[in-house]
């Protein structure tokens, strides 16, 4: 009981601390109003994406491998520790800054964007929020400067039903021994740092789930099979095998048996990042399409000037704007310490749907060239599909939103 109260206070303190960040408490202006740093970050990342990432996108997709120089550049630019406090080697920026960075990169390559997203949300949030001072001092600086991390929750038998996970953590003296197989783990191919969810006592159901910090220095952790995917091909999605993986009790993240709570809260927030990725993806697809439509002529006029086509891209632009506003709003709510679960789910739900509609329509409007690999839009079409699946499927988002809607009437 006592520990529970401390935990709640911790979270509230975190929320209050976030209020005094570089975010104005009262918003006067549209959701497109940004502080000087947010604007500068947005411009810088857009340029960085265009000049450093863009030339390598096609090759990385073709060979299904992230270029290590890109990962190094992401670290050097400070893009892997956006919100982490400067005390731990990060940049101490606000959540919207991370969202803007994820969005701008996704316009150029959603695969690189997901690396930045996972590192700054799924990996960073649990450590910053529930890590001890020692753990934060030990791991955060590395995550900001050179170590890629990943979030190991899903298994072959548990995706949406995350808490049915089978990975066990058996107590042995001052350690836990982890056994199990994690599946679909983004970033795992490049990771040296793992947040692993395992159950210390299956008889307690989900209340036995515990979060563990595991690194490549631990014995018994190995990266397994790498998925051959439809899209986001440059982003590594692998199996992670735990065979008698020994983890010191110093590396339990937060409290034993509270892992389910950390997972839910982290995913609630992380999905705003995915929403941003999907917004960027949709915009990127449109940015490659409209200029072509303004050039190509049929029947003596540009494709873009046909009313039917105009109505199509007008809808696309409107939906992207709506998705973007949902995303920015969810981010600002998080910054203000207000409840944001419903809005975050709405942002991810809508953005991923919009991304698939936009990418599909863009291939169609481009005609034959849109269907070839010579043109970049088919990649966006392949990349978008995962948006409706990972970090909470579309149906899970609808469940979440529906339940919260009903609550408003109770």
């Amino acid at each position: 009981m006592h520990r529970l109260r401390l935990l709640n206070t911790g979270i509230r303190t975190q929320q209050i601390c976030r209020k005094f960040h570089s975010t104005p408490a009262r918003r006067v202006g549209s959701l497109h109003s940004f502080s000087e740093e947010e604007k500068l970050l947005k411009d810088t990342v857009a340029r960085f994406a265009k000049e450093v990432i863009a030339p390598k996108v096609k090759k990385m997709d073709d060979i299904s491998l992230m270029d290590p120089t890109i990962i190094r550049a992401l670290f050097e630019q400070g893009l892997m520790g956006i919100e982490t406090s400067a005390t731990y080697g990060g940049n101490g920026m606000n959540f919207t800054s991370a969202i803007l960075a994820i969005e701008e990169i996704a316009k150029v390559d959603p695969s690189v964007s997901v690396v930045v997203d996972v590192q700054n949300t799924l990996v960073s949030i649990p450590l910053r929020r529930w890590g001890t001072e020692e753990q934060q001092q030990k791991y955060l600086p590395r995550l900001c400067t050179d170590t890629v991390g990943c979030f190991c929750l899903s298994e072959w038998g548990s995706g949406s039903d995350a808490f049915a996970l089978q990975t066990t953590a058996r107590r042995e003296g001052n350690s836990f021994v982890l056994n199990g197989t994690k599946a679909w783990i983004t970033n795992s191919g490049e990771s040296q740092f793992f947040i692993v969810f395992a159950n210390v006592d299956h008889s307690m159901g989900y209340k036995g789930i515990t979060a563990f910090i595991v690194t490549k220095h631990n014995t018994g952790i190995k990266i397994g099979k790498r998925e051959n995917k439809l899209g986001l091909r440059a982003s590594s999605t692998c199996e992670v095998n735990l065979v008698n993986c020994v983890v010191s009790e110093q590396d339990v993240l937060g409290e034993v048996g509270k892992g389910y709570k950390y997972a839910i809260e982290t995913l609630n927030e992380g999905r705003i990042g995915i929403a941003a990725q999907m917004c960027g993806l949709a915009q990127g697809a449109l940015d490659h399409t409209i200029p072509y439509l303004m050039q190509r002529k049929q029947f003596g006029q540009t494709i873009a000037s046909f009313q039917g086509v105009r109505f199509d891209y007008a809808w696309l632009a409107t939906e992207i704007e709506a998705a973007r506003l949902l995303t920015y709003n969810a981010a600002r709510l998080q910054e203000e310490g207000k409840p944001f679960t419903k809005e975050a789910a709405m942002a991810k739900l809508f953005s991923s749907e919009v991304a698939t509609r936009v990418a599909s329509k863009c291939v169609e409007m481009l005609g034959g060239v849109g269907f070839t690999k010579d043109f970049p839009v088919e990649k966006y079409y392949r990349d978008c599909k995962i948006g409706q699946i990972y970090e909470g499927t579309t149906n899970i988002q609808l469940e979440t939103i529906g339940k919260l809607v009903v609550k408003e009437y109770e």
């Binding site: 740093e37 500068l40 970050l41 960085f48 630019q77 940049n91 800054s97």
Partner: protein, 252 residues
């Protein structure tokens, strides 16, 4: 080690923006258009910061003349490595002579050993400020630099200039006014760490009156028009037709 390089930076319409002429033909429409640091000034700033990182310069100071938005440009300059900046705020039209006069006064106050500008601004393409400033100060100048080597112990710099005939290497005694050309370097991206650091860095705010300069424009722009649109060419179906047409046009 020299103590200071002054880098003037101009806030201009971003190079990627498709510009439009105002309906009254008085100039380019800059309303709600993306503004950025002049790319050649970025190159000059990058060179100055690299010299600082090499340990031959102690301080890099950025300066801008213009409206309130210039503080964003100066914030970017500091995120890219300038140690501090000066904003001479005005809503008047900025022209090279006015800028040069303001810079002259600032130079007398700040005592830099080098003033490093971009060769020209991409909005007016004047290519005058560096030269005018050198004249006003009575300093030597090396414009269109594509390579700069500073020799503080000998109080000079060895620069390579891009000229019509090729490359020219000069030795200039400090203090000097340099202007940067495209191939001098590839500017860096502002790292997030530095963007955050730049927030707390000081911007000294002045007005032209405080500096003691009348920047009233000396030249008046009468009209700005778009260049005539390119007329499409004529397609021919055979070599015979091509030769015929060329003969008819009097080219063959």
């Amino acid at each position: 080690m020299i103590s200071k390089i002054l880098v003037p930076v101009k806030r201009v319409v971003d190079y990627a923006v498709k510009i439009r002429i105002k309906p009254d033909k008085s100039g380019v429409d800059t309303e709600s258009v993306k503004m950025s640091m002049n790319p050649f000034d970025e190159i000059a700033l990058e060179e100055a910061v690299r010299l600082k990182e090499k340990g031959v310069v102690k301080e890099v100071v950025a300066i801008s003349l213009g409206p309130a938005g210039c503080s964003e440009t100066l914030r970017t300059a500091m995120a890219l490595g300038a140690d501090r900046s000066i904003h001479v705020e005005t809503n008047q039209d900025i022209q090279p002579l006015g800028v040069a006069k303001v810079l002259q006064k600032i130079v007398l106050k700040e005592n830099p050993q080098l003033v490093f500008t971009g060769k020209q601004a991409i909005d007016d393409d004047s290519n005058q400020t560096a030269q005018l400033l050198a004249g006003l100060l009575g300093w030597n100048q090396a414009t269109f630099t594509s390579k700069v080597e500073l020799k503080p112990e000998e109080e000079k710099a060895v620069v390579t200039r891009e000229v019509d005939g090729g490359l020219e290497t000069l030795s200039v005694n400090l203090p000097s006014v340099l202007s940067a050309d495209l191939r001098l370097n590839q500017p860096r991206f502002a790292k997030l760490q530095n963007i955050m650091k730049a927030r707390k860095m000081p911007i000294e705010r002045l007005t032209p009156e405080q500096v003691g300069v009348d920047i009233t424009p000396r030249t008046k722009i009468i009209s700005v028009t778009e260049p005539p649109s390119r007329k499409s060419g004529v397609k021919v179906d055979s070599v015979t037709e091509l030769v015929d047409k060329l003969k008819k046009e009097g080219i063959l």
